[in-house]
Amino acid sequence: MNLNEAGTRSLASAALVTFLAVVAVYLWFIDILTMQKQFGAFLAAELTAFAMLLYLYGRPIHGEFKKQWFLAGCLFLAFSLALAIL
């Protein structure tokens, strides 16, 4: 995966936008009185995905796009989702 290629970035951005939309709809309809923990964890996932999208959209401030940062974001996203589901 080379994030410095525009095609790869577009694909990853599309996936993130879809994820953001799905989670936003889920958060809108969730019953926060009974699912407070899930609400917090999904909000963390939403913010992480948003940050990853900004990373792909904006020009990198320190040189080129780095795969490691994106993978770290994916890991934290997975962690937040695990927090919500488990």
């Binding site: 009185l33 407070q36 917090g40 963390a44 940050a51 900004l54 959209y57 934290f76 937040s80």
Partner: protein, 429 residues
């Protein structure tokens, strides 16, 4: 830090909807927020963790600014304002800690307020009155509440405005040679704005995940009976001070020496730009200031961990000298070895430029590993001192010493790698 302050403001205002600053209802209203208000526990935990983050980030920012010599001309006043902001952040922690009126917070605050009474002359009475009012629990809580939600935010915002203005005038500090090269200007819109939004989102996501993972649980309510069976201990960011105050020399009337010495250190730190007037900013050329800085950071970490491990335990002078002096000695030896090695490094012997570039690129990871090793060394060295003085469990003592040696060895390796890389970067054309 600004984002953390923003999170503090939002969550604080939300808590104000339910929190009642009276001795009878402070605890029950906090408990009500946590147990009954929808997402109240999340807001309360976010408030706490963002406060922790603010203290930690302020400390990291201070350390970073010290080591890149940000206090040097023409940014002397920026440093002074930054230090004042740091004190305000600590005051936020102190005042906010009391508000839930738990046995932990009230007992620790009583110790802190009681210490003010030892200040010489009328200073003690004036300071106590300003902080705790007439002396009753109700006036103390009300004073702390007013300071926490009105006075301190106002002061912090004013100082932030002044610092931002000075930042606009002087601009960002350049990286010292050998740490990073090749800077370019970045437009505020959209690049810097997108970057800051991204960092803020990640930061809040971390806070949310931490809050979900480790939600706040309130200790028992304060009452004289529960307090009697409880060892007061401050929050982690005051543990270093707590540990100093437990030294046997500072017990009783000796506390006055601590109350004079600690503010003197703070004043010297605040006025540092007026002592350190040299123009040299590179780490490799400032051995004395770098060594003093590392000693301060190391002592702070050691005292914090030691304070956490020994709640309520009075520390003998011998132990204090061994740990404080030992830490300083270790840092001085490491620093001496590091600078000696730096002098010996020649461009030919300092390996290739690509290797040094690789080491410098990993600087943040190496710095984190170094701090972890320093923490491990702190724990094991303080444990060793405890075990030697109590002369118990030789196996534990041996393993503690081995771990200390292991941490110190790898700390030296990291420092040597960084110095070698930094030297070759500076010397290579």
């Amino acid at each position: 830090m600004v984002v953390a302050f923003f999170v503090q403001g939002i969550t604080g205002v939300l808590m104000l909807l339910y929190y009642v600053p009276s001795v009878d209802q402070a605890y029950s209203s906090t408990l009500f927020i946590i147990e009954n208000v929808p997402l109240g526990w999340l807001i309360e935990t976010l408030h706490l963790y963002s406060a922790y983050a603010m203290v930690l980030l302020a400390f990291m920012h201070l350390t970073r600014q010290y080591f890149v010599s940000a206090q040097k001309r023409p940014r002397e006043l920026m440093w002074v304002v930054g230090m004042l902001m740091g004190f305000v952040v600590l005051a936020f922690g102190l005042t906010g800690y009391l508000l839930p009126w738990t046995v932990v917070s009230k007992s620790a605050t009583d110790v802190a307020v009681g210490m003010l009474g030892f200040l010489p002359g009328q200073l003690g009475a004036i300071a106590r009155f300003l902080v705790a009012g007439s002396g009753s629990d109700a006036s103390e809580l009300l004073r702390f509440f007013a300071l926490h939600i009105v006075a301190l935010p106002a002061v912090l915002l004013i100082l932030l405005g002044v610092k931002m203005y000075m930042f606009e005038v002087h601009g960002a500090i350049e990286s010292p040679a050998g740490v990073r090269s090749g800077t370019r200007s970045v437009p505020w819109f959209p690049d810097a704005l997108l970057y800051l939004t991204m960092i803020s989102s990640v930061f809040i996501a971390f806070l949310l995940a931490a809050s979900v993972l480790f939600p706040l649980s309130l200790p028992p309510q304060f009452s004289p009976e529960t307090a009697a069976s409880f060892t007061p201990q401050p929050d982690w960011y005051f543990l270093w001070l707590y540990q100093i105050l437990k030294f046997v020399s500072f017990e009783g009337t000796g506390i006055i020496y601590a109350l004079v010495a600690v503010p003197i250190i703070f004043v010297v730190m605040t006025l540092l730009p007026f002592f350190d007037k040299g123009k040299e900013r590179r780490l490799g050329q400032r051995p004395v200031y770098v060594t003093i800085g590392v000693i301060m950071v190391a002592e702070l970490i050691v005292l914090t961990i030691w304070g956490y491990m020994t709640p309520g335990q009075v520390i003998s002078d011998l132990q204090a000298v061994l740990v404080i002096g030992g830490t300083a000695l270790v840092v001085v030896i490491l620093s001496w070895a590091m600078y000696r090695r730096r002098k010996q490094v020649t461009p030919a012997s300092s390996s290739s430029g690509s290797l040094s570039a690789a080491v410098l690129e990993r600087f943040p990871i190496l710095a984190i590993v170094f701090v972890l090793l320093l923490a491990m060394a702190s724990v094991t060295i303080t444990s060793s001192v405890d075990l030697v003085s109590s002369s118990s469990n030789p196996l534990l003592l041996a393993s503690s010493l081995v771990l200390s040696a292991f941490s110190l060895y790898f700390m030296v390796r990291i420092l040597r790698a960084l110095v070698a890389a930094g030297s070759s970067r500076v010397k290579s054309p």
